[in-house]
């Protein structure tokens, strides 16, 4: 192959409809395959590691081909990009054809063309050509066709703009793909954790987890979120709405917004969307000795054991505390919590030093325990209990483009499938070459034929109906 032919061959491949099928099948299979193996982005590193341990044979293949990250892999993204390029190049010639069909000149054709069409009829009627043309136009108009006439030829068309729908649909898919790539490159999403009554400033280092696209460029806005109150919330009709967070959003000391964030009701500001995510409890433990006092709120998170637990080191004592927190405790043979409301908080503490258990037992709110450490008497108090809430904060500049493209995609798909262009050509042939339109013994022949892009059977029926209405043999 000569050098000049290579670009042509590439272009020819990229606009191939066969390539489109191959890419679609590949993406479909890869997408389905990705659901069978846990993905790091969804399941988390720990789960994936555990799964791979349980499946040692598959694990080697997974790690070699990075199958636990299939949707973020360069191979998958390249195939997606290739599908976008292929769709674009396939659409280009169709746009030209469609524009020609919509805005080009009306094409009248003779019987030679009409009789070669797959759907055509020849009808002989004994009436004048002029009246036949007039009747035909009326019938066609009644069926929604726009007709134009030139001499003894008629061109009728219905749903003309429908021919633009398929290229628009395909181009909107390209825009959707582009916007997802753009969004992925420019977005950030992170998780902020705030204890009731405390603040969070939107800055990279303050997130407990953050992921930024390669072109996000640290465009943080440094606004402040104050969690005024985290509380259970209900609809006006009393229906449970889940927990809600009353927040104050401020920037440079000025309060910008005061709002309540709950499920399906995020707070939006400067392109950032702030959604309520998880919640838990933050007990305040205070350590007292004769000469010092220290304390802090501890984040207790909900675990797979269906308990709120936390593990922390008590100041610089070298004591490790494991806490199970019961916000609404009932103490019987075992301790259980009957709700997520802090009606009767109780913390079950296990204190250990150098692996040796030094205390194990329950601690009620506002109670304390005493213990000796290196001959110093100390007390640990359970002084307060607040909720903590985590917020999923994200910024995706592609959303307006994506939503617009989705809307156009759905509308154009509807048009492509149901607003089908139909074209009918007619030529009236006077069997005796009598162009004056007078009736004679042999009458006239109406050659009528047409095309529909889709729904060919119903077009066939419609053409037959038109012929029946004209009458004749």
């Amino acid at each position: 192959m000569t050098a000049g032919r290579i670009p042509k061959a590439i272009y020819s491949l990229l606009r191939s409809r066969k390539l489109a099928i191959v890419l679609l099948v590949t993406i479909t299979l890869l997408s389905a395959f990705g659901t069978l193996i846990p993905q790091q982005s969804r399941a988390g590193d720990a789960y994936v590691a555990m799964w791979n341990e349980d499946h040692p044979l598959v694990s080697a293949i997974n790690q070699y081909y990075d199958l636990n990250n299939i949707y973020d892999s360069w191979q998958f993204l390249t195939i997606l990009a290739l599908l976008g390029v292929n769709t674009f190049f396939c659409s280009l010639p169709r746009i030209k054809t469609s524009l020609n069909r919509v805005y080009g000149q009306v094409r009248f054709t003779d019987s030679d063309f009409i009789l070669k069409l797959k759907n055509h009829h020849s009808i002989v009627v004994k009436r004048s050509a002029t009246k036949t043309i007039s009747d035909l136009q009326k019938i066609l108009n009644r069926k929604g066709y726009i007709t134009t006439q030139q001499g003894n030829q008629i061109f009728a068309e219905k749903n003309r703009y429908g021919s633009l729908s398929s290229p628009i649909f395909h181009l909107s898919l390209v825009v959707i793909l582009l916007s997802t790539f753009y969004g992925g490159a420019m977005q950030m999403h992170g998780v902020a954790q705030i204890i009731d009554g405390q603040d969070f400033t939107e800055a990279h280092s303050n997130y407990i987890h953050i992921k930024e696209g390669p072109f996000f460029g640290e465009q943080h806005k440094y606004f402040n979120i104050h969690l005024t109150k985290f509380h259970p919330s209900y609809e006006l009709n009393g229906k449970w709405r889940g927990f809600a967070a009353d927040v104050l959003l401020s920037e440079n000391g000025q309060v910008i917004k005061e709002d309540t964030i709950y499920v399906n009701n995020p707070l939006r500001y400067k392109g950032f969307s702030i959604d309520r995510n998880e919640y838990g409890f933050a007990p305040l433990f205070v350590l007292r000795s004769n000469d010092s006092i220290s304390g802090s709120y501890i984040i207790a998170s909900y675990t797979d054991d269906h308990q709120y637990t936390a593990s922390f080191n008590i100041a610089d004592t070298g004591i490790l505390a494991d806490v199970v927190l019961y916000p609404d405790a009932i103490v019987g043979d075992e301790i259980i919590s009957i709700s997520d409301f802090p009606n009767n908080p109780l913390a079950y503490l296990n204190l250990s030093k150098n692996g040796e258990l030094i205390y194990s037992g329950p601690l009620k709110l506002n109670d304390s325990i005493k213990f000796d450490l290196d001959s110093t008497e100390m007390s640990l108090e359970f002084n307060d209990l607040e909720y903590w809430a985590s917020f999923y904060i994200h910024r995706d500049a592609s959303i307006p483009i994506l939503y617009s493209a989705l809307l156009i995609c759905l509308l154009s798909l509807t048009a492509a499938l149901f607003y089908i262009p139909r074209r009918i050509w007619v030529e009236i042939v006077d069997n005796d070459n009598n162009t004056t339109g007078t009736t004679d013994s042999t009458g006239i022949t109406i050659n009528i034929g047409g095309k529909a892009d889709k729904k060919i059977l119903s077009f066939k029926d419609e053409l037959l109906e038109i012929c029946n209405e004209i009458g004749g043999t």
Binding site: I21, A43, T180, K239, Y392, L406, L410, L417, L457
Partner: protein
């Protein structure tokens, strides 16, 4: 679940079973008027079914989309309604009831084995997007069920006209192929709307319009499968039998997506809302 609701649910399943039997009887013994009776039984079943779900709605204070029982039951109802409306408008589609009604009866049977308690609604489901998202999923299922039935009939009928007159009562091969295409094209659109509304809703609720959740991935796989069907048909001339086989593959994928994927993939965000 109240006794009245339970009785009406069983009555509707019974009516669907009788309707299925009547369709099969009509086709086997060439008794045309039995298709009318079969439709009447299906209508009666749909009425019982609607009242049963309405009672559940009133009792639970939310629509039938919280538990797998509710999802399957309401999907079956929408499929029956789509079938009844379509056959009212298109007489030649009537005999697809031979496949559609037994399929729906089996679906009702599976539904009956599921836990039937009414659960309180999950807060994230309290959204208008839910109606569009779930509504179009059900419409998609109803449409492709009819489309695939036409495809299956096409396979049965093709090449057998001279062997048995059993198939003569079906629409022509050309008509079956065309009808199959039209319903699957509608299904393709409905799946597209379901995926799009789901993406918008997910962005609002979970903060991300697409997270490769197993169920959303399988919805995309279903859409791609029907996209491949349409491409093969419209650009590569895969009509008739070939198209019918692809439509069957699509139906299997869609059934897996709507009814099985959420139970198989425990890591799906959807599983948490379906109270399986």
């Amino acid at each position: 679940m109240s006794d009245t609701e339970s009785i009406l649910f069983l009555a509707s399943a019974t009516m669907y079973a009788i309707s299925a039997a009547a369709y099969i009887f009509s086709m086997t013994f060439r008794k045309d008027h039995w298709t009318v009776r079969a439709s009447q039984f299906a209508v009666l079943g749909a009425v019982f079914h609607t009242v049963s779900l309405a009672l559940r709605w009133i009792e639970g204070g939310h629509g039938p989309y919280e538990t797998m029982f509710e999802i399957l039951s309401s999907t079956a109802l929408v499929a029956v309604l789509v079938f009844l409306i379509v056959q009212y408008k298109m007489d030649k589609i009537k005999l697809t009831g031979v496949l559609v009604m037994p399929a729906l009866f089996i679906m009702m049977g599976i539904t009956a084995t599921l836990p039937q308690e009414i659960s309180p609604i999950t807060p994230s489901l309290q959204s208008y997007w839910l109606i569009a998202h779930i509504g179009f999923a059900k419409l998609a299922y109803g449409s492709v069920l009819i489309g695939t039935s036409c495809g299956i009939f096409y396979i049965f009928k093709s090449g057998k006209e001279s062997v048995s007159n059993f198939y003569e009562r079906l629409p022509s091969l050309e008509a079956l192929d065309d009808l199959s295409y039209r319903f699957i094209a509608a299904g393709f659109l409905f799946i597209a709307v379901m995926v799009a509304t789901g993406a918008v809703w997910a962005n609002k609720t979970w903060g991300s319009y697409w997270s490769w959740d197993p169920l959303e991935t399988w919805s995309l796989v279903s859409w791609f499968t029907y996209g491949i069907y349409l491409h093969l048909r419209l650009t590569h001339g895969w009509y008739g039998k070939k198209a019918a086989y692809v439509s069957i593959v699509g139906m299997i994928v869609l059934i897996f997506t709507i009814f099985i994927a959420s139970t198989v993939f425990s890591l799906s965000d959807h599983s948490a809302y379906m109270n399986i």
